[in-house]
């Protein structure tokens, strides 16, 4: 490497006279700014970002465009030529083709949030190289919205069940899981201190969780017959490494200043928990419950990508500069084993609101779950067997998992910090429920880290949860209003099985006779003495 640098240095002394290397332009960027009286970050922040921080990839706008254009040509060329001729849309296992309706759209929400999150950092960063890097990220995130949308768009044109792929941007409004992604991605990336947002977006979501969400998910896709998603997602991820570097340099830009470094640990702990709280269960559900053909247990991917590599290579190496282990890490690890099983139970219980077709785990899947998560059958498998027997799939049964749970005293609540539903009496993850009354309103929390976030910053968490917003709606009316019905005007887009027979209609849903309740109102709540 030393020799090579020497060659480059020689080139510098005798430059090619008729062309300019992008990095020759990049080296002047730090001189593009100037000082003036009112110059400051325009959004509230605890930090002062160093004006001298560098950017690691040294791209100019034009070279960025050339590189990205090449990515686009390859990606759309594959989709529109190669995969089109292979009829790729109809080679996908339905379990996977269905879960991609949610995965592509939920990830799109993250990419969209990241546009504003990167704009926030572009404003707060003072170093021109960093600002240039963040602007490229803004544009990247537009690319990623376009790409994730294109997965739905492509599936909508080529897959045998376009319903839901075409209109998830509408259906998600009633999906009880959607506030979870809104909080982590749609708002955690952009509504708060720029550095806190950067840790959420770049250091945790991108540097940590996009590896399993975007990279290893492509293995599951390919195993299940989907070559569309790998074509797009692997190309998305080629931008993420620059974003990870952006996030890392955000930390570098504040680390040498003890005055601001003292705030870092709080933001790191909060951001890790905020992102983990949604991503650990969601990715696990998508991979393990959205696939027929399994690749490796989610908890093993989590151990590799999140714990050993991300925590070890990124955070572990920063310990010498004062970064400490997030206090929530042991709870996060427990969640890595069980939280996705907890969430899957609720997703299946609430299937009419998800907009996709899903099925209970079959015998083969149940054996796989038990082998990799010993104890799974006795806790979850038994319930699924009982649901199956009670007519879970049968449109004439009037069966609904959510009602089954409630009738047996297993209440479903919404965590007021993460926005996600939880069932305290059936959770095997780190759930440790607590309920509070404050200023005349009741709140539910699934664990102490979220409760702490609310107790310290109540004005940040004022949302109406699913039950509060739709209390009093009859289930089939709600699904219909939100666009969850097929073009025959009666068959539901969501289904509790994958067959093309016995499909549920609005009438079947009406038979369940469920009017959305607000558990915080109907149950008999008492103060704890």
């Amino acid at each position: 490497m030393g020799n090579n640098t020497a060659v480059k240095q020689a080139l510098k002394a005798n430059p090619v006279p008729s062309s300019v290397d992008p990095q020759e332009v990049h080296k002047w960027l730090q001189d593009f700014t100037w000082d003036f009286k009112s110059k400051t970050a325009k959004y509230p922040t605890k930090y002062d970002m160093d004006v001298n921080t560098r950017e690691q990839f040294k791209l100019t706008a034009k070279e960025y465009a050339r590189m990205e254009s090449s990515k686009e040509e390859r990606q759309y060329g594959t989709l529109l030529d190669g995969l089109d001729r292979l009829d790729a849309g109809n080679k996908v296992h339905p379990k996977w083709g269905e879960v991609m309706k949610l995965v592509a759209n939920f990830l799109e929400t993250g990419e969209y949030g990241a546009i504003s999150g990167s704009a926030l950092l572009w404003d707060t960063a003072q170093s021109p190289e960093q600002r240039n890097g963040y602007l490229a990220q803004v544009i990247d995130e537009i690319r990623h919205v376009n790409q994730t949308a294109y997965v739905n768009y492509y599936y909508g044109k080529h897959y045998y069940d376009p319903a839901g792929h075409t209109n998830m941007r509408q259906l998600r409004a009633i999906n009880p899981l959607y506030p979870g992604v809104k909080r982590a991605f749609g708002e955690g990336f952009l509504a708060g201190d720029a550095v806190e947002s950067s840790i959420n977006l770049q250091l945790v979501a991108e540097a940590c969780f996009t590896n399993p969400l975007i990279v290893s998910l492509t293995e599951w896709a390919a195993a299940n017959g989907d070559e569309i998603t790998p074509t797009v997602f692997l190309s998305i991820e080629t931008d993420e490494l620059r974003h990870m570097a952006n996030g890392y340099q955000t930390i570098v830009s504040i680390m040498n200043n003890p005055e601001t470094m003292k705030y870092l640990q709080t933001d790191l702990d909060n951001a890790f928990w905020t992102q983990h709280k949604f991503l650990t269960p969601f990715v696990g559900v998508a991979l393990e419950y959205g696939s027929k053909y399994k690749v490796e247990p989610w908890v093993k991917s989590w151990n590799r990508w999140v714990y050993e590599d991300w925590a070890g290579i990124w955070l572990g190496r920063l310990q010498q500069f004062g970064v400490k282990s997030p206090k929530c890490l042991p709870d996060a690890k427990k969640d890595a084993v069980w939280a996705h099983h907890d969430l899957a139970l609720l997703a299946l219980a609430l299937w009419p609101l998800t907009g996709i077709r899903m099925e209970l785990p079959d015998q083969q899947a149940m054996e796989w779950f038990e082998a990799n998560y010993p104890g799974w059958y006795n806790h979850y498998g038994k319930i699924y067997d009982e649901w199956r027997a009670a007519g879970f799939e049968d449109p004439k049964s009037g069966f609904c998992g959510a009602l089954w749970l409630m009738e047996r005293g297993h209440g479903i609540f919404v965590d007021h910090a993460s926005g996600l539903p939880f069932c305290p009496s059936l959770a095997k993850s780190s759930v440790n429920a607590r309920f509070a009354e404050y200023n005349g309103k009741r709140y539910s929390f699934s664990e102490p880290h979220g409760e702490r976030q609310w107790l310290l910053e109540p004005e940040r968490y004022e949302f109406q949860n699913f039950f509060e917003q739709f209390e009093g709606w009859e289930l089939s009316d709600l699904v219909k209003a939100a666009g969850g019905v097929r073009s025959d005007g009666k068959t539901l887009m969501a289904q509790p099985h994958l067959r093309d027979t016995d499909m549920w209609t609005l009438d079947d849903l009406k038979r369940i006779n469920l009017t959305i309740p607000d558990p915080m109102k109907i149950l008999n709540w008492q103060p704890i003495q």
Binding site: K39, E108, A119, S487
Partner: protein, 391 residues
């Protein structure tokens, strides 16, 4: 060494047989229109709309949004992630905006790549074809070194001002267009420096560093009012519609157009500089696209197509124009002092009458395009006369 043999479901016969057994004979749904709820009129959504429209997750406090309820997490202090407080302009449906250039990511980077390749070839031809020999040394050392370099700061400052416009914009297709306009500004600054690095290679005495240019920008009289405008719009202005209007529809359409088109494009050739016009041509294109976008947004979306708040928005655009036009006038007036430094004087071009004709071209162009539609009246002759006092 591989720990597993990877099985691809698409080509593995066993898996594909299982999958095909589950694929229904006829599609389960015949309607394949994307985002059907957003369909306007008879037509299906274009690709430009399909990949972006309604991607924004936002509370329904923002008119036109599909979501219901409140954001889950807000800023400390209670500010929402997207909220109508970010501008004084009002829309009945923020999601109705469309960029006339219909650029989503793919066409955007494709176009920019082509421009990059054009510039690369032009620079090569310029150096190798012998054009450098024609360059007037005083133009090179006085104007390109100092004032052309100072223009980088103008573009960089305007690019920086777009952070709040990108963050604050209230719908997806608005954010797309605005961040592209920002990227163009960043690019415009970098292209000037790219040209200056090349000049440093072609002319041994030319220093591509920005020391002299920064001095001209921060301390020189030629750029002072322009710099004050840029600083104000970057650091002191938070209303993103006001920023967009002030930057693209007022400042850049008068001052920017004059500096790029009437000065550098026109005067460079007189000095044997055939390269600057090629590079600046791109910046002119970027401004054209930004002007088209701001016109589609402010004049069409916020006024012509706005059923309830058109008059309201017109009032604000009017007030903002009144707020910024005097500063733009000052900027242009101060800039005209640059003609004292121009080495080659040509009658009809650099003389008072020639310069005044240029000022009139930009002022008339601006008045027709942006002042008339909002009913903004001003005395063009007085404006030109005041500006010409700087000559």
């Amino acid at each position: 060494m591989s720990s597993n043999v990877f099985i691809r479901g698409m080509v593995d016969p066993e898996r594909q047989a299982q999958i095909q057994a589950l694929v229904p004979k006829a599609p389960l749904e015949t309607k394949r229109d994307h985002i059907p709820f957003a369909k306007r009129g008879w037509r299906r959504l274009t690709e430009y709309e399909a990949v972006m429209l309604h991607a924004q997750n936002s509370l329904d406090a923002i008119p036109g949004s599909q979501e219901v309820g409140e954001t889950v997490q807000k800023w400390p202090g209670g500010r929402g992630s997207y909220s109508i407080e970010s501008t004084a302009a009002i829309s009945s449906n923020w999601f109705n905006f469309r960029d006339p250039s219909k650029r989503w990511f793919q066409p955007y980077v494709k176009q920019k790549t082509e421009e990059g390749q054009t510039a690369e070839r032009a620079m090569k031809a310029w150096v190798e074809g012998g054009d450098t020999g024609m360059m007037n040394t005083a133009w090179l050392n006085q104007i390109l070194s100092k004032h052309y370099g100072a223009m980088i700061f103008n573009e960089y400052g305007l690019f920086s001002a777009h952070s709040t416009t990108t963050y604050g914009a209230l719908s997806d297709l608005l954010k797309t267009w605005i961040s592209q306009a920002a990227f163009d500004k960043n690019d415009a600054g970098q292209m000037i420096q790219m040209q200056r690095v090349l000049l440093g290679k072609a002319f041994p005495g030319f220093d591509p560093s920005l020391v002299e240019a920064k001095q001209a920008w921060t301390q020189g009289e030629v750029w002072k009012p322009a710099r004050e405008f840029v600083e104000h719009i970057w650091a002191d202005t938070y209303d993103w519609v006001e920023q967009l209007w002030a930057m693209h529809a007022v400042y850049d359409h008068i001052f920017g157009q004059f500096v790029r088109r009437e000065f550098f494009q026109r005067i460079a050739g007189l000095h044997g500089d055939t390269l600057t016009p090629v590079i600046q041509f791109q910046a002119l294109t970027y401004h054209q696209q930004a002007a088209d976008g701001v016109s589609a947004f402010c004049l069409k979306h916020l006024i012509d197509d706005e059923p309830v708040y058109g008059q309201h928005n017109r009032r604000y655009l009017h007030a903002w124009t009144g707020k910024y036009l005097p500063q733009v006038e000052k900027a242009l007036k101060a800039f005209l002092a640059i003609y004292k430094e121009v080495p080659v004087k040509v009658d009809g071009v650099t003389c008072r009458a020639g310069v005044q004709a240029g000022v009139e071209r930009v002022v008339n162009g601006w008045a027709d395009r942006f002042a008339e539609p909002i009913g903004y009246k001003f005395n063009r002759n007085a404006f030109v006369k005041n500006v010409m006092a700087g000559y």
